[in-house]
Amino acid sequence: MTLAATKERKAPTRVLSYAGALLETMDAALANHANVFIMGQGVDDFKGIFGSTTGLAQKYGAERVFDVPLMEEGMTGVAIGAALVGDYPITTHIRADFSFLAMNQIINLAAKYRYMFGGSMSCPMLIRLVVGRSWGQGAQHSQSPQATFAHFPGLTVVMPATSQAILDMYPKIIARHPGPVISIEHRLLYNLDFTVSSNAPAIPLSTYIAREGKDVTVVATSVMVVEALRAAQYVKEAAGVEAEVIDLNSISHPDWELVVQSVRKTGRLVIADTSWLEYGVAAEVCRQLMLREPRALAAPPTMLGMASAPCPTAKSLEDLYYPSQHETVDAILAQVRGVGHGVALPTERSMTEAFKKFRGPF
């Protein structure tokens, strides 16, 4: 392991995978904060949560990076206890679906602790969830519960979409955030390479503009930000359409003014989320817009998310289940040019075909 924990100099601009960014931030957290520890099923094994904790147990020892039994609820309760006495736990779930076993501790305890006890105590901690997608993840390995968690006051929910978002947010969260944070990472992003820069303005623990444009606003989360950026590139080349892509980034505490300003400018809105639309992120974006600027839209918004069904395993159905690049492009063009926009759509059938680096089983 040559990973820099300490203040080793890094090139101002470099290429770093999402998993690499996670590993760097985990490493730095352990190096810079004696109270940080990482626990979760398999954090110390050779796969190291898809490469995001590999080698850290050897480097920092088993007191600080350790495997746990199958005990999602217990582990979360243990983390709360540790946080209450000054440690900073980082816990992992290799699929967000498994955090559902810890719902009681996350929602009834962690989310409430500070408030319910009159501000006298808090449990700052980072809970990392990985959302699965494709290669037959099926109904129980594919859920993306950002709206569920963001529904409960007391939780901070972020969805880093790039390596830069991780590099900018995680150190701040770990060093300073006063309460429990749920970070929802996406498995399809893990193996992607991103350009990162230490000179650019840091991504806030909130919303930011990922690409500027004047014709249509695309509000996206997680891997859908990457999808939206690809689509924006396509519509620019194919039709000269300039899409503004906003990475919501914080699900619990977005910058709604930023979103409203953009829609004021464009009058057109596409929302692309990684989960179901019903009562979800897309619904919340519309609620906020309705409250703040009910007449900003020139047409009803378009929403992209998972079909209203549990995730099917069959590839043929999975391809229909998630919005494809084709649909994202079509949604953007239809907003700007109308349904009969007449622009040829990309031929690619499923998004995961573009993310070739991801191949099963896990």
């Binding site: 099923q41 398999g42 094994d45 050779f46 796969k47 495997d67 746990v68 039994p69 199958l70 005990m71 999602e72 609820e73 217990g74 679906d97 498994f98 559902f100 076993l101 290669w135 037959g136 993840q137 099926g138 109904a139 129980q140 390995h141 079909a307 209203s308 069904a309 549990p310 099917p312 395993t313 069959a314 590839k315 043929s316 159905l317 229909l320 289940y321 099963g360 089983p361 896990f362």
Partner: protein
Amino acid sequence: MGLIASPRFILYHQPSKAPQGAAEPLESKDLANSDELYRRLFRTTLLIRLVEERVIELYPSDRIQSPVHLSIGQEAVAVGVCDALRADDLVFATYRSHGFYLAKGGRLDRMFAELYGRIGGGAKGKAGSMHLSAPEVGLMGSSAVVASTIPHAVGAAMSFKRQGSDRIAVAVFGDGATEEGVYHESINFASLMKVPVLFVCEDNGLAVHSHRHIRQSYRLQKHAEIYGIASCRVDEGWDMLAIREASLAAVAHVRAGRPFLLEIATSRYMEHVGVGEDFHFQYRDRAAVDAWKARDPLVVDKALTEALRPELEREIEAAVAFAERSPAPGRDELLTDII
């Protein structure tokens, strides 16, 4: 072969009535026909192995686009347990259930179609390998969330009792699953309610890459004992006959109205998920698996393996062909069967 071991029993409750069928002619008849019995169990065990070996061959072709958790090395557990059950008894199992699916009598062609994500699969391709089911033969829905089906078996058993039926339910789970809270809740409740449920722990000593001793501070049988649940451990988990014999006794106990825990030592030859071996990662010892293989009837009894192989391979080819012919589910399936 015939490695009938003497499983270690811990019986805390004498069954309230004589267990149905226990020590009855069934057993002596079996002994008389032990060759035939051995051959029958061997055949199913070999079928499971050859099926999974076929999955390994097919996997690089990307026809099976779904995680697969192979049971190679563990097949005898499924075969020995299921052979001791009645057709109308129910089994609730896990993501590692190719073996239980076949041992309980699930159709092979539908299984391959399910793995392929085709309409001819038991769940029309919506389930894949991790969620196999065949309710028509008593294999209920398998879950990929560890330990999550254990209480389902308890509930089904409770209802059987309520309905005055003498069917039983079986919860199949790995050693790791016993660490989950719901396992403890389930065995406590089963014991309190005296429901006819058989808990079967497939103890391969591993949860993904973590060895049991770093995960568990308890011994499973001792632990069950404090809940008042009788148990038996079979160390010779390669031996279908020994497992079957222990299962028959366990099932008799359960059918008489008490929960029972059967802990069966076994060995996972392949990686946790996927179709490769994983010894090169050095988190476990190849020698332990090799020692197991040296006693595995499917490895040792080459004569019978080769005698049965041609017909089993024909069966498998037909099932694969069925899957290949079966169409992929179309858009009309996307939003069906939701509520």
